[in-house]
Amino acid sequence: MMAFLRLLARNRLALAGLIVIGVIVFLALITPLLPLADPDVTDTPNRFLPPLSEGALLGTDHLGRDLLSRLMWGTRLSLAMGLAAAIIAATIGSAIGIIAGYYGGRTDNLIMRGVDMLMAFPYILLALAIVAALGPGLMNALIAVAAVNVPFFARNIRGVTVGIAHKEFVDAARLAGMRDREIILSEVLPNVLPVIVIAMSTTVGWMILETAGLSFLGLGSQPPQADLGSMLGEARSALITNPHTSIVPGAMILIIVMGINLLGDGVRDALDPRLKSGALSRPMPATTVERHGAVPAAKTDSLLDIAQLRTEFRVRDRVYQAVGGVDLHVEKGECLGIIGESGSGKSVTALSVMGLVASPPGVITGGAVHFAGEDIIGAPYEKLRSLRGRRVAYIFQDPLATLHPLYKVGDQLIEAIQSHETVSHTAARTRAVDLLKSVRIPNAESRIDSYPYEMSGGMRQRVGIAMALANDPDVIIADEPTTALDVTVQAQILSVLSDLRRERGLAIIFITHDFGVVGQLCDRVAVMYAGQIVEEGPTEAVLRSPQHPYTARLIACVPTLGGGQRKLAAIPGLPPVVDHLPIGCAFAERCNKAQDLCRAKPVDLVTTGMTRKTRCLFPEVPVERSA
């Protein structure tokens, strides 16, 4: 509760709303004590006095009544009406909702059908019908507005109640022999109450507006008693000659409703956990780049060279170092595997290449990515866009989420082609069919008009691959493309990729957490842990004699076919949280060879032998240190 209030106070607009409403409610409460003129005493000789007149601060209306006094009493009445309507609607609506939600079945069905009927009316029609039946008047308008809002509460509270009615504590109460009425009052109601109060606070502004509206139409408060709506309604005939009589009550309604809306928004935001975490931010077209210091040069003259790449996530006041200085490179026609547990930074590394890390919260803070000799980190958007898909293409995991659900796969392929080339729709379509054929989709001519949801997981992933191939790229970055697929489909997809690489001379960066897949496809492999590369080398050599203890443990996790039953060595513990990385080796906490030296200072990635690198002071296989 205190945290909630503090959060609310931090939202300056909500605070302003709260203050405005507080002041108005306070003034409305003490109105009878204020030295105001009688709001109903007419004084026709002094009608339509302008504001700031002697004895009438806001002037007088068409009957010479003091506007300030009428405004205060009118505000009092409008607030009371709105609040009363909200309380009545909330009480009746919630009662209906709780009964429907608690009993369920036929009761629920019958009640909710009725509620749906009421909701089929534009709200004012119902209110007008009720006022027509009961006759114009303050109380009748109040009843009408309350009645119109009952369905809203009934529906919302029913939803919440259904969730609670099946919780264990309600079952327990039932087993304890409590009667339904007791359960509703002692178990359900206390849990639903906060929701009712919130729903009320968000609708009270509406109710004030609606009652004022009915009064404005002459169907609410009757003279001489006046709320803000009827003041405005009466002033309407003198709008052109004496606008101040209209502006005074109208502006008051505006201020009240705006105050309530500001406050309501603030409450809503304070209660929404997603807003706190920043998860409601939309990612920008390209990842934000904040590089300090010199840009590192490419270490190799490979097609793609990643040097000292650093990417972090900034969530509120926390910084998560997802990628902490990664060096990687891939040659034309080569397949590089990146392997690691979830959260090791392998995907973020891959997405950083083309600025596709969601930003906010992602920020690239250092390093360089040289593609064909040119650094593309922080390149202008148009430059980046022309590279994306055309020179460097991506294949993602879970193609159901990564393909647009509402466009046909053919249209998505055609779009990929037309984003980089001006070709006619028919020509692009022909190419799209060919692409589908090249990834061995049967009946490509008819499959091209399917929606993603009409295809199987394996077929969708082939579409994903076809899309990556659409512009004949130089590099394909495949981010766990087979993780969501079953083993046979996985094998097919891998063979498609492998063939394409041979036929087209593609460079592939293949991200996975599966050593089996790496062994089938990749020439070289880099092992990532906590945002760093801990070992790198030719796949065969690494698999045969891993140097880093982490790699060794990772390989030991893979069950071997026909190897008989043996104890699979799971790695104890969890990877470190990347906003609190240790100074020394990040794996030390889970490593059974770790010594004090490991934790004392950062461990460097050192070249071991001709082609291998490892980041360990006490490697599994003793190696000759050459760096």
């Binding site: 009316f121 019908a129 027509a132 309604i253 505006l254 928004d265 293409a393 993602f396 647009h404 984003s419």
Partner: protein
């Protein structure tokens, strides 16, 4: 698709019956004698008795409902005593004007609201977003009747850009240009609140969609950001925006009552308010049932639009 439309139309029948029952029950709450209410308090006892017999009002609630329903199905909504003409004729006459006003506003608030929401989301936390958010807050807080009055004061009286009120000038031609001149202010005043609500919901729908994986895919393909926003994201967001449009149509129709009063627009809303003040019960009853039925039909159209937009909905 035809099957789907047919199915939705059939499912509207119980809703329409429910609406008629609700309206009938509300009208049955009228204290005292219904015939007196219909004829007004100056009716002679003979007339009251005769009307009660003619309308079957001397019978029980259930038979009365079926008589009323049967008459309505044959196009007989009763007779307005204040206007001395059939209710349906009067409602149909007035409905055209409301349709023009509410229809224009609805198109306006849909287009502007969605555009504002999309821009706001695409520029989240930027200047455009903050400006739109502020204007939207102002828009949803101002009572439409007050806004209409202020618009009259500024744009009609001070600046003389538009006529003060009415749908047609008393003298002179009745052409499209004249109509648009008269329509501009009421349509805008009516659209403001709904525009604000739609903009808000469109913004959050867009923010939700922009975080989805398929947006990243579109970007990874090299699709231009403009297209990512206005095609990929908006198309997916429309699935949750369309139902909101259906609800907002109801609010536009409701707001039309106030706007018609402020701008002296000769529509059903003003007709209903006048009828209530004159205790012209049959006119209110007929008008409410008629408009509610139209609204139900409109919502079926919204559902059909939704099904056309989202191929995943089984048709």
């Amino acid at each position: 698709m035809t099957g789907y439309i047919l199915k939705r139309l059939l499912s509207a029948i119980p809703v329409l019956l429910g609406i008629s029952v609700i309206v009938f029950l509300i009208m049955a709450m009228i204290p005292g004698d219904p015939a007196t209410a219909i004829l007004g308090s100056y009716a002679t006892p003979e007339n009251v008795e005769k009307l009660n017999r003619d309308l079957g009002l001397d019978q029980g609630l259930v038979p009365r409902y079926f008589i009323w329903l049967g008459n309505m199905l044959q196009g007989d909504f009763g007779r307005s005593f204040a206007l001395n003409r059939p209710v349906l004729d009067e409602v149909l006459d007035r409905f055209g004007a409301t349709l023009i006003l509410a229809g224009t506003s609805f198109v306006m608030c849909s287009i502007l609201g969605i555009a504002a929401g999309v821009i706001s989301a695409a520029r989240q936390y930027g200047f455009a977003d903050k400006a739109i958010t502020f204007v939207v807050l102002l828009g949803i807080s101002i009572p439409s009747f007050f806004l209409g009055m202020m618009m009259i004061l500024i744009f009609a009286v001070q600046l003389r850009w538009f006529p003060v009120s009415g749908m047609w000038p008393i003298y002179g031609d009745r052409n499209l240009w004249v109509l648009m001149d008269h329509l501009a202010m009421p349509a805008i005043a009516l659209a403001v609140v709904a525009t604000g609500v739609i903009a808000r919901l469109a913004r959050s729908a867009m923010l939700e969609v922009l975080r989805q994986d398929f947006i990243r895919t579109a970007r990874a393909k090299g699709v231009h950001e403009r297209r990512v926003i206005w095609r990929h994201a908006l198309r997916a967001a429309m699935v949750s925006i369309i139902p909101i449009l259906g609800i907002q149509a109801g609010f536009v129709l409701s707001g039309a009552v106030y706007i018609e009063m402020v701008f002296q627009w000769p529509g059903v809303g003003r007709m209903l308010v006048d009828a209530i003040l004159k205790r012209d019960i049959l006119l209110v009853q007929g008008g409410v049932v008629f408009i509610a039925a139209c609204y139900v039909m409109f919502n079926i159209m919204v559902d059909v639009a939704q099904a056309l937009l989202d191929p995943r909905i089984k048709t």
